[in-house]
Subunit: 163 residues, 2 copies
Protein backbone atom coordinates (compact mmCIF):
# COMPACT_ATOMS: atom_id res chain seq x y z
CA UNK A 1 0.00 0.00 0.00
CA UNK A 2 1.25 3.47 -0.81
CA UNK A 3 -0.12 7.00 -0.66
CA UNK A 4 0.07 9.34 -3.64
CA UNK A 5 -1.50 12.59 -4.73
CA UNK A 6 -4.92 12.13 -6.31
CA UNK A 7 -5.61 13.11 -9.91
CA UNK A 8 -8.93 13.94 -11.56
CA UNK A 9 -8.88 10.44 -13.08
CA UNK A 10 -9.14 8.89 -9.60
CA UNK A 11 -12.59 10.25 -8.82
CA UNK A 12 -14.59 7.43 -10.48
CA UNK A 13 -12.91 5.00 -8.07
CA UNK A 14 -13.38 7.30 -5.04
CA UNK A 15 -17.03 8.19 -5.53
CA UNK A 16 -18.48 4.71 -4.85
CA UNK A 17 -17.02 4.42 -1.34
CA UNK A 18 -17.39 8.16 -0.69
CA UNK A 19 -21.09 7.89 -1.45
CA UNK A 20 -21.51 4.63 0.48
CA UNK A 21 -19.94 6.19 3.58
CA UNK A 22 -22.01 9.39 3.42
CA UNK A 23 -25.28 7.53 2.79
CA UNK A 24 -24.56 5.07 5.62
CA UNK A 25 -25.21 8.06 7.89
CA UNK A 26 -22.77 7.30 10.67
CA UNK A 27 -19.71 9.49 10.18
CA UNK A 28 -20.11 12.52 7.89
CA UNK A 29 -22.49 15.47 7.64
CA UNK A 30 -22.15 15.94 3.89
CA UNK A 31 -25.29 16.62 1.87
CA UNK A 32 -27.18 13.40 1.19
CA UNK A 33 -28.03 12.02 -2.23
CA UNK A 34 -25.26 13.77 -4.16
CA UNK A 35 -24.52 12.60 -7.67
CA UNK A 36 -20.90 12.10 -8.70
CA UNK A 37 -20.25 15.62 -10.04
CA UNK A 38 -21.72 17.26 -6.94
CA UNK A 39 -19.75 15.03 -4.57
CA UNK A 40 -16.53 15.68 -6.48
CA UNK A 41 -16.81 19.39 -5.72
CA UNK A 42 -17.00 18.52 -2.01
CA UNK A 43 -13.85 16.41 -2.02
CA UNK A 44 -11.46 17.17 -4.89
CA UNK A 45 -9.95 20.47 -3.76
CA UNK A 46 -7.04 21.53 -1.57
CA UNK A 47 -4.53 18.66 -1.17
CA UNK A 48 -6.14 15.29 -1.98
CA UNK A 49 -4.38 11.94 -1.72
CA UNK A 50 -5.31 8.32 -2.29
CA UNK A 51 -4.10 5.13 -0.64
CA UNK A 52 -3.56 2.53 -3.36
CA UNK A 53 -2.33 -0.99 -3.87
CA UNK A 54 -1.31 -2.70 -7.09
CA UNK A 55 0.43 -1.21 -10.10
CA UNK A 56 -0.58 0.24 -13.45
CA UNK A 57 -3.95 -0.96 -14.67
CA UNK A 58 -4.32 -3.18 -11.60
CA UNK A 59 -4.00 -0.25 -9.19
CA UNK A 60 -6.89 -0.11 -6.72
CA UNK A 61 -7.86 2.87 -4.57
CA UNK A 62 -8.47 1.81 -0.96
CA UNK A 63 -9.10 5.20 0.60
CA UNK A 64 -8.70 8.93 0.22
CA UNK A 65 -7.95 11.95 2.36
CA UNK A 66 -8.22 15.67 1.70
CA UNK A 67 -6.46 18.35 3.70
CA UNK A 68 -5.82 22.09 3.72
CA UNK A 69 -6.45 25.25 5.77
CA UNK A 70 -9.38 24.96 8.16
CA UNK A 71 -10.27 28.64 7.71
CA UNK A 72 -9.17 31.38 5.32
CA UNK A 73 -7.48 34.63 6.24
CA UNK A 74 -6.42 34.95 9.87
CA UNK A 75 -7.27 31.32 10.61
CA UNK A 76 -5.31 29.73 7.76
CA UNK A 77 -2.37 28.60 9.91
CA UNK A 78 -4.53 25.77 11.28
CA UNK A 79 -5.20 22.85 8.96
CA UNK A 80 -7.98 20.30 8.73
CA UNK A 81 -8.57 17.01 6.96
CA UNK A 82 -11.20 14.42 6.09
CA UNK A 83 -10.76 10.70 5.51
CA UNK A 84 -12.67 7.98 3.69
CA UNK A 85 -11.66 4.32 3.57
CA UNK A 86 -13.45 1.82 1.33
CA UNK A 87 -15.45 -0.68 3.35
CA UNK A 88 -13.64 -3.51 1.52
CA UNK A 89 -10.26 -2.21 2.78
CA UNK A 90 -10.99 -1.61 6.46
CA UNK A 91 -8.94 -3.12 9.28
CA UNK A 92 -5.74 -2.93 7.23
CA UNK A 93 -4.34 0.26 8.72
CA UNK A 94 -5.32 2.47 5.78
CA UNK A 95 -6.88 5.08 8.05
CA UNK A 96 -3.79 5.19 10.23
CA UNK A 97 -1.49 5.47 7.21
CA UNK A 98 -3.57 8.35 5.83
CA UNK A 99 -3.61 9.96 9.29
CA UNK A 100 0.19 9.71 9.61
CA UNK A 101 0.54 11.18 6.12
CA UNK A 102 -1.83 14.02 7.05
CA UNK A 103 0.14 14.97 10.17
CA UNK A 104 3.44 14.94 8.26
CA UNK A 105 1.97 16.96 5.39
CA UNK A 106 0.77 19.66 7.77
CA UNK A 107 4.17 19.74 9.48
CA UNK A 108 5.95 20.03 6.13
CA UNK A 109 3.63 22.84 5.03
CA UNK A 110 4.29 24.79 8.23
CA UNK A 111 0.82 24.61 9.79
CA UNK A 112 0.59 25.48 13.48
CA UNK A 113 -1.94 22.73 14.28
CA UNK A 114 -4.66 20.50 12.87
CA UNK A 115 -8.33 20.85 13.81
CA UNK A 116 -11.02 18.28 13.12
CA UNK A 117 -14.32 20.13 13.31
CA UNK A 118 -16.83 17.32 13.54
CA UNK A 119 -15.77 13.84 14.63
CA UNK A 120 -18.90 11.80 15.39
CA UNK A 121 -18.57 10.60 18.98
CA UNK A 122 -19.95 7.14 18.18
CA UNK A 123 -17.29 6.71 15.47
CA UNK A 124 -15.01 5.31 18.14
CA UNK A 125 -12.56 3.79 15.64
CA UNK A 126 -11.82 7.27 14.33
CA UNK A 127 -11.81 8.95 17.75
CA UNK A 128 -9.29 6.42 19.10
CA UNK A 129 -7.17 6.62 15.97
CA UNK A 130 -6.89 10.41 16.18
CA UNK A 131 -6.18 10.21 19.90
CA UNK A 132 -3.38 7.73 19.19
CA UNK A 133 -1.90 10.32 16.80
CA UNK A 134 -1.94 12.89 19.61
CA UNK A 135 -5.22 14.68 18.94
CA UNK A 136 -7.22 15.81 21.96
CA UNK A 137 -10.95 16.41 22.26
CA UNK A 138 -11.32 20.18 22.72
CA UNK A 139 -15.07 19.94 23.25
CA UNK A 140 -18.19 18.15 22.10
CA UNK A 141 -21.27 19.79 20.59
CA UNK A 142 -24.15 17.74 22.00
CA UNK A 143 -26.68 16.05 19.70
CA UNK A 144 -25.16 17.75 16.64
CA UNK A 145 -25.09 14.65 14.39
CA UNK A 146 -28.14 12.61 13.44
CA UNK A 147 -26.64 9.11 13.33
CA UNK A 148 -28.70 6.56 11.44
CA UNK A 149 -28.18 3.88 14.09
CA UNK A 150 -27.65 5.90 17.30
CA UNK A 151 -29.92 8.91 16.82
CA UNK A 152 -28.57 12.32 17.84
CA UNK A 153 -25.01 12.09 19.09
CA UNK A 154 -22.27 14.61 19.77
CA UNK A 155 -19.65 16.00 17.40
CA UNK A 156 -16.14 16.28 18.83
CA UNK A 157 -13.85 19.15 17.97
CA UNK A 158 -10.37 17.59 18.04
CA UNK A 159 -7.02 19.33 17.87
CA UNK A 160 -3.35 18.46 17.46
CA UNK A 161 -0.79 21.21 18.02
CA UNK A 162 2.25 20.94 15.75
CA UNK A 163 5.48 22.09 17.33
Amino acid sequence: MRIREATADDWPQIYPFWSEIVEAGETYAYPLGLVSDEAREMWMYDHVVVAVEGEGEDEQILGSAKMGPNRPGRGSHIGTASFMVSSAARGKGIGRALGDYCVQWHRDEGFHGIQFNAVVETNTTAVRLWQSLGFEIIGTVPDAFDSRSHGRVGLHVMYLPLG
Copy 2:
Protein backbone atom coordinates in the same frame (compact mmCIF):
# COMPACT_ATOMS: atom_id res chain seq x y z
CA MET B 1 -34.17 50.55 14.94
CA ARG B 2 -35.79 47.55 13.33
CA ILE B 3 -34.65 44.30 11.77
CA ARG B 4 -35.83 43.19 8.34
CA GLU B 5 -34.80 40.65 5.73
CA ALA B 6 -31.96 41.85 3.53
CA THR B 7 -32.37 42.29 -0.23
CA ALA B 8 -29.71 42.30 -2.94
CA ASP B 9 -30.01 46.11 -3.00
CA ASP B 10 -28.68 46.29 0.58
CA TRP B 11 -25.24 44.94 -0.21
CA PRO B 12 -23.63 48.27 -1.22
CA GLN B 13 -24.43 49.56 2.30
CA ILE B 14 -23.24 46.35 4.00
CA TYR B 15 -19.94 45.89 2.19
CA PRO B 16 -18.14 48.97 3.64
CA PHE B 17 -18.54 47.88 7.28
CA TRP B 18 -18.19 44.17 6.40
CA SER B 19 -14.85 44.91 4.75
CA GLU B 20 -13.73 47.26 7.54
CA ILE B 21 -14.43 44.59 10.16
CA VAL B 22 -12.67 41.79 8.26
CA GLU B 23 -9.61 43.94 7.45
CA ALA B 24 -9.36 45.14 11.06
CA GLY B 25 -8.25 41.59 11.79
CA GLU B 26 -9.76 41.15 15.24
CA THR B 27 -12.94 39.13 14.88
CA TYR B 28 -13.38 37.15 11.63
CA ALA B 29 -11.33 34.63 9.66
CA TYR B 30 -12.76 35.54 6.25
CA PRO B 31 -10.37 35.84 3.31
CA LEU B 32 -8.58 39.18 3.34
CA GLY B 33 -8.67 41.75 0.57
CA LEU B 34 -11.98 40.67 -0.97
CA VAL B 35 -13.63 43.00 -3.45
CA SER B 36 -17.35 43.62 -3.13
CA ASP B 37 -18.55 40.81 -5.43
CA GLU B 38 -16.35 38.24 -3.68
CA ALA B 39 -17.44 39.33 -0.23
CA ARG B 40 -21.09 39.26 -1.23
CA GLU B 41 -20.82 35.54 -1.99
CA MET B 42 -19.52 35.00 1.56
CA TRP B 43 -22.43 36.80 3.20
CA MET B 44 -25.57 37.01 1.09
CA TYR B 45 -26.87 33.44 1.31
CA ASP B 46 -29.10 31.50 3.69
CA HIS B 47 -31.22 33.88 5.81
CA VAL B 48 -29.72 37.39 5.87
CA VAL B 49 -31.15 40.31 7.82
CA VAL B 50 -30.22 43.94 8.37
CA ALA B 51 -30.72 46.25 11.34
CA VAL B 52 -31.88 49.61 10.04
CA GLU B 53 -33.02 53.01 11.21
CA GLY B 54 -34.81 55.71 9.26
CA GLU B 55 -37.42 55.33 6.56
CA GLY B 56 -37.49 55.24 2.78
CA GLU B 57 -34.55 56.99 1.17
CA ASP B 58 -33.21 57.96 4.59
CA GLU B 59 -32.98 54.35 5.76
CA GLN B 60 -29.52 53.49 7.07
CA ILE B 61 -28.14 49.98 7.60
CA LEU B 62 -26.46 49.70 11.00
CA GLY B 63 -25.60 46.01 10.99
CA SER B 64 -26.31 42.65 9.40
CA ALA B 65 -26.56 39.01 10.40
CA LYS B 66 -26.71 35.81 8.40
CA MET B 67 -27.97 32.50 9.69
CA GLY B 68 -28.78 28.98 8.55
CA PRO B 69 -27.76 25.34 9.01
CA ASN B 70 -24.25 24.89 10.41
CA ARG B 71 -23.75 21.70 8.40
CA PRO B 72 -25.62 19.96 5.61
CA GLY B 73 -27.15 16.48 5.73
CA ARG B 74 -27.15 14.81 9.13
CA GLY B 75 -25.93 17.98 10.85
CA SER B 76 -28.53 20.38 9.46
CA HIS B 77 -30.67 20.48 12.64
CA ILE B 78 -28.05 22.74 14.27
CA GLY B 79 -27.91 26.32 13.09
CA THR B 80 -25.19 28.93 13.01
CA ALA B 81 -24.94 32.67 12.47
CA SER B 82 -22.52 35.54 11.88
CA PHE B 83 -22.92 39.19 12.85
CA MET B 84 -21.46 42.49 11.69
CA VAL B 85 -22.25 45.89 13.20
CA SER B 86 -21.05 49.11 11.61
CA SER B 87 -18.41 50.81 13.74
CA ALA B 88 -20.52 54.01 13.67
CA ALA B 89 -23.45 52.16 15.28
CA ARG B 90 -21.72 50.31 18.12
CA GLY B 91 -22.79 50.58 21.74
CA LYS B 92 -26.46 50.97 20.77
CA GLY B 93 -27.54 47.38 21.33
CA ILE B 94 -27.58 46.46 17.63
CA GLY B 95 -25.58 43.28 18.25
CA ARG B 96 -27.92 42.22 21.04
CA ALA B 97 -31.00 42.91 18.91
CA LEU B 98 -29.56 40.86 16.05
CA GLY B 99 -28.63 38.10 18.52
CA ASP B 100 -32.15 38.02 19.97
CA TYR B 101 -33.58 37.91 16.45
CA CYS B 102 -31.20 35.05 15.56
CA VAL B 103 -32.24 32.92 18.53
CA GLN B 104 -35.93 33.46 17.81
CA TRP B 105 -35.47 32.70 14.10
CA HIS B 106 -33.78 29.39 14.90
CA ARG B 107 -36.57 28.51 17.35
CA ASP B 108 -39.23 29.36 14.78
CA GLU B 109 -37.48 27.29 12.11
CA GLY B 110 -37.31 24.27 14.43
CA PHE B 111 -33.54 24.07 14.89
CA HIS B 112 -32.31 21.92 17.77
CA GLY B 113 -29.52 24.32 18.77
CA ILE B 114 -27.17 27.06 17.55
CA GLN B 115 -23.42 26.59 17.21
CA PHE B 116 -20.91 29.39 16.76
CA ASN B 117 -17.79 27.78 15.32
CA ALA B 118 -15.17 30.44 15.82
CA VAL B 119 -15.68 33.23 18.36
CA VAL B 120 -12.37 35.02 18.89
CA GLU B 121 -11.58 34.80 22.60
CA THR B 122 -10.29 38.38 22.75
CA ASN B 123 -13.59 39.64 21.27
CA THR B 124 -14.94 39.83 24.81
CA THR B 125 -17.89 42.01 23.84
CA ALA B 126 -19.18 39.22 21.61
CA VAL B 127 -18.30 36.41 24.05
CA ARG B 128 -20.18 38.14 26.88
CA LEU B 129 -23.13 38.98 24.64
CA TRP B 130 -23.54 35.36 23.52
CA GLN B 131 -23.15 34.16 27.10
CA SER B 132 -25.88 36.57 28.17
CA LEU B 133 -28.14 34.95 25.54
CA GLY B 134 -27.44 31.54 27.08
CA PHE B 135 -24.58 30.30 24.87
CA GLU B 136 -21.88 28.25 26.58
CA ILE B 137 -18.26 27.80 25.57
CA ILE B 138 -17.98 24.15 24.49
CA GLY B 139 -14.23 24.37 23.97
CA THR B 140 -11.46 26.64 22.73
CA VAL B 141 -9.04 25.83 19.91
CA PRO B 142 -5.78 27.39 21.08
CA ASP B 143 -3.92 29.93 18.92
CA ALA B 144 -6.33 29.37 16.03
CA PHE B 145 -6.88 33.07 15.17
CA ASP B 146 -4.12 35.49 14.23
CA SER B 147 -5.39 38.69 15.82
CA ARG B 148 -3.83 41.87 14.49
CA SER B 149 -3.40 43.37 17.96
CA HIS B 150 -3.10 40.29 20.22
CA GLY B 151 -1.24 37.78 18.04
CA ARG B 152 -2.44 34.18 18.08
CA VAL B 153 -5.48 33.73 20.30
CA GLY B 154 -8.04 30.99 20.77
CA LEU B 155 -11.30 30.44 18.94
CA HIS B 156 -14.25 29.44 21.09
CA VAL B 157 -16.86 26.97 19.93
CA MET B 158 -20.08 28.21 21.56
CA TYR B 159 -23.44 26.46 21.73
CA LEU B 160 -27.01 27.22 22.73
CA PRO B 161 -29.47 24.32 22.97
CA LEU B 162 -33.00 25.22 21.90
CA GLY B 163 -35.71 23.48 23.86
